[in-house]
C-alpha cells in the first residue's frame, strides 16, 4: 500500500504544454504514472507526445478532461499568476488530489484556493512542493524517480531537494519507501505533516516514518504532539536551519524565525520530548530508521 497515490491514480497534467510541464509529464509517464490527459486552454484537441510513442489527449478545460478520462488526480505546472486559478478549476471539476508544483503563487490567492478546495472536498498538496511518489506505483510531481525504491518507510518533508537527499540515502542503504511526500514550503499549504501522519498511520505497509522539517512556524511541533497522542509507529525527524540567524528570511516565507517560536533547536527538542528520534545531519537518518525498525 501507499498514501494519496497508487496504481489507481489517473492523472491530468495542468499546463502540460509548458517547458516544465512537458518535461515532467514525460518523466512521470516513463515511471509508469497513468497520465490520462493534459489541460492547456486554447490547445484542446492537440496531443502530447510522450515517451515510447504513447500520446496524451489535451483539453481546453478540466471539466472536459475529467469527463472524458475519469481522472482523480491533477498536477499543476502553470505559471504563478494562473496557478491558483488552476487549483480552483481542478477542485471544481471534482479532482480529489491536486498537486501544486508551482512556486511563487500569491499567498492571498492561496487563501481563497484552499477555502475553495475545502468546500469542494479536494485535497491540495503544496503549492511550491515537489509532489509525491509511491515507489513502483505512481509518481506525481518532480521527485526524481531513480532515488526511490519500494519498501516500508513513509517520508514527509517540507523542503524539496532535502527530501531527495534523505530518500536517496534511504534507498542507497537498501531501505525502501511506501510514499514520499513533499508538502511544500509556502506559508499556506494544503496538506500538512499531521495530514500525512494520519494517512501513514492508516497504511498497513508503512512501518516507520521520516519527517523532515525546517525552521519557522509550528507545524513540526503540532506533528510531534500528534505523534505522541495517536501514532504507534516509529518516527525519525530532522530539522534544517540550525545555523540560520534569527529574523532573516531563508529562501521562502515558511522559514522565518519569528520571536522565540520556530527555531531548529526548539523543534528538535520538541521532537525528542515526544518520542521522535532526532537526526543531527541527513546522513544520520538511515541509522536511526534502522534502529527504530529493529533492522
Amino acid at each position: 500500500m501507499s498514501i494519496f497515490i497508487d496504481e489507481n491514480t489517473r492523472l491530468i497534467v495542468q499546463g502540460i504544454t509548458g517547458r516544465d510541464g512537458s518535461f515532467h509529464t514525460a518523466q512521470m509517464m516513463e515511471y509508469g504514472t497513468a497520465v490520462v490527459a493534459g489541460v492547456t486552454p486554447g490547445k484542446g484537441g492537440q496531443t502530447f507526445e510522450g515517451p515510447g510513442g504513447r500520446t496524451v489527449p489535451i483539453f481546453n478545460t478540466m471539466d472536459e478532461a475529467v469527463a472524458e478520462t475519469g481522472a482523480n488526480t491533477s498536477v499543476i505546472y502553470v505559471p504563478p499568476a494562473f496557478a491558483a486559478g488552476a487549483i480552483l478549476e481542478a477542485a471544481d471539476a471534482g479532482i480529489e488530489l491536486i498537486v501544486a508544483i508551482t512556486e511563487g503563487i500569491p499567498v492571498q490567492d492561496m487563501a481563497r484556493a484552499h477555502a475553495f478546495a475545502r468546500d469542494r472536498g479536494a485535497r491540495v498538496l503544496g503549492p511550491n512542493c515537489p509532489g509525491l511518489i509511491s515507489p513502483g506505483k505512481s509518481k506525481v510531481g518532480i521527485l526524481p524517480a531513480q532515488i526511490v525504491t519500494p519498501g516500508p518507510v513513509g517520508v514527509i518533508s517540507r523542503s524539496g531537494t532535502l527530501t531527495y537527499e534523505a530518500v536517496y540515502q534511504l534507498t542507497t542503504a537498501g531501505i525502501g519507501q511506501t510514499t514520499c511526500v513533499g508538502i511544500g514550503g509556502d506559508p499556506l499549504i494544503g496538506t500538512n505533516f499531521v495530514d500525512c501522519l494520519e494517512a501513514f498511520a492508516a497504511d498497513a505497509d508503512t512501518k516507520a516514518i521520516v519527517m523532515i522539517g525546517e525552521i519557522g512556524g509550528t507545524d513540526e511541533q503540532e506533528a510531534a504532539a500528534w505523534v505522541r497522542e495517536h501514532l504507534d509507529k516509529p518516527v525519525v525527524g530532522f530539522i534544517a536551519g540550525q545555523t540560520a540567524p534569527p529574523g532573516r528570511r531563508m529562501g521562502h516565507a515558511g522559514a522565518i524565525i519569528s520571536g522565540s517560536a520556530g527555531t531548529a533547536e526548539e523543534k528538535m527538542q520538541c521532537f525528542a520530548e515526544n518520542g521522535i528520534a532526532v537526526a543531527k545531519r541527513p546522513a544520520d537518518i538511515v541509522g536511526l530508521v534502522r534502529e527504530a525498525m529493529g533492522l
Binding site: 499567498v107 518532480i142 528570511r249
Partner: protein
C-alpha cells in the same frame, strides 16, 4: 518585501484612512524646511526596515524647525539593528488621548488573514501577546467573504467605549483590510492607532510587508523598494531570482532548495566550518542563475571555497553543470570550487563537468567535508 513607514502611509491614504500628513527628507536642510511648512511641533522619524526605532533614538520630537534639523542630522546615517538610516519622515506631532494596536497578517494555521487588535498600543505587540494575551482580540477573516462590517465593528468595540470613536475605528479597520488586500500584503499594521482629545481616530505609524509573490501584479509597489537600504549582493540576487543571505563564514554555498541549503550550512558547521552565506538557486533550471550566484559569492572577500550542492528535481543537473561551466568561462574565478550533483540527468551533468575539467562528488557529507578542509587549508 518591506517598505518604509512613509510608503505604507501612502498606501493607507489611498485606502481613505486618516493618516496625518508627512514628508520625507534625506538631508537636515530638507527636514528643517518641511518642519517650517508645518509649523508647530513635528516628529522626525528614521525610515528603516526595522522595529525598535524609538528605543534606538530614531524617533524625536522637535518644537522648532531648527530642532528638527538637529534631530535629522543625528538620525540620518545612524545604524539601527545593522541598517543605515538614509531618510527621515517629518510629520506634525499629534495630541494623543489613547493609543491602540491594529494589525492584520496572513496566518499559517487558519490559512487566512487574521486581525489582532489591542487597546495596549504603541508598544511591541509580540510583548503584549507574551505577557497579557487577553489584551488582544483576534479575528480570522473568512477569505470567501472578506472582512464583514460587523466583524470590523466587533474589533473596534474591543478598543473603545465611545460609540462615535468605535464607528470611526471600525471604518479604519475595514480600510486597513482593503489596503492589505489591494496591496497584496502579507502584513499591515497600525501601531499606534490614536485618538485625539477631540475624539478623532488617526493612524500615526504604519507598517506594511508586501508578499513578494504579488509583485508581478503591482509594478507600482516594486518601485517602492529601497535598494539603497540593502547590500549590492542582495539586490543582484533578487534581480537574478535567487534567495541570498550574507553570513560571516568562509564557505560560499550554492544550493538548490531552501531546505537543502539550510541543511548544507548546518553540515558545514557540523564539520567545523563556517558558511559564508545562504544561497538558494531555486527550482527552475536557468544557467544564468548559476552565473549570478557565482558572481555574488565571489564578490565576498571572505569566501575561501565555493561549495555546490545540487539535487536535481525540477532543476536539471545538466543545466546546473552548463551554468557552472559557462560562469567559470565568463568570470575569472580563483576560489576553489567543489561540486556535488545528484538527481535528474546526473550522468549528463557529470559528463559535462568532467569535460570542463571539474571533478564532482555524489555524497553530501563528502563534498562538505572537502569544502571545510579546503577553507581551513587556504
Amino acid at each position: 518585501m518591506n517598505i518604509h513607514e512613509y510608503q505604507a502611509k501612502e498606501i493607507f491614504r489611498q485606502a481613505g484612512m486618516p493618516v496625518p500628513p508627512g514628508e520625507v527628507a534625506t538631508t537636515p536642510d530638507e527636514a528643517e524646511a518641511i518642519a517650517r511648512t508645518y509649523g508647530g511641533t513635528v516628529v522626525v522619524k528614521a525610515q528603516v526596515h526595522s522595529g525598535g526605532r524609538g528605543k534606538a533614538g530614531g524617533v524625536k520630537l522637535a518644537s522648532t524647525p531648527e530642532e528638527a534639523r538637529a534631530h535629522a542630522e543625528a538620525i540620518l546615517g545612524m545604524e539601527i539593528r545593522g541598517l543605515t538610516v538614509n531618510r527621515v519622515l517629518v510629520t506634525p506631532a499629534e495630541d494623543i488621548a489613547s493609543e491602540a494596536y491594529v494589525g492584520v497578517l496572513m496566518d499559517r494555521k487558519a490559512q487566512a488573514p487574521t486581525f489582532m487588535v489591542s487597546a495596549e498600543g504603541g508598544v511591541d505587540i509580540e510583548e503584549v501577546a507574551a505577557t497579557n494575551p487577553d489584551a488582544i482580540r483576534k479575528l480570522t477573516v473568512d477569505p470567501r467573504y472578506g472582512l464583514l462590517p460587523h466583524q470590523a465593528y466587533w474589533l473596534a468595540n474591543a478598543l473603545y467605549d465611545d460609540p462615535a470613536i468605535i464607528k470611526q475605528a471600525a471604518r479604519v479597520i475595514a480600510q486597513l483590510y482593503d489596503a492589505f488586500r489591494s496591496a497584496g500584503a502579507s502584513m499591515a499594521e497600525i501601531n499606534p492607532l490614536i485618538t485625539t482629545p477631540e475624539g478623532e481616530v488617526k493612524a500615526i505609524d504604519a507598517k506594511v510587508t508586501i508578499d513578494d509573490n504579488e509583485l508581478f501584479r503591482h509594478p507600482e509597489l516594486e518601485a517602492l523598494r529601497d535598494t539603497d537600504a540593502e547590500p549590492w549582493a542582495e539586490t543582484r540576487a533578487r534581480e537574478a531570482g535567487l534567495s541570498f543571505v550574507k553570513l560571516d563564514g568562509d564557505v560560499g554555498c550554492c544550493v538548490n532548495g531552501a531546505g537543502l541549503a539550510m541543511a548544507t550550512m548546518d553540515l558545514v558547521k557540523y564539520y567545523g566550518g563556517d558558511p559564508a552565506n545562504f544561497l538558494d538557486i531555486g527550482g527552475s533550471s536557468n544557467p544564468e542563475k548559476v552565473v549570478a550566484a557565482l558572481e555574488i559569492i565571489t564578490a565576498d572577500p571572505n569566501v575561501k571555497v565555493i561549495l555546490f550542492n545540487i539535487f536535481g528535481g525540477i532543476t536539471r543537473c545538466d543545466d546546473v553543470a552548463n551554468g557552472i561551466v559557462e560562469a567559470t568561462r565568463r568570470i575569472d574565478i580563483k576560489t576553489p570550487i567543489v561540486i556535488r550533483l545528484t538527481g535528474t540527468n546526473e550522468e549528463e551533468a557529470l559528463r559535462i563537468l568532467e569535460e570542463a575539467g571539474f571533478s564532482a562528488f555524489t555524497s553530501m557529507d563528502e563534498v562538505v567535508q572537502k569544502a571545510v578542509e579546503l577553507a581551513a587549508g587556504a
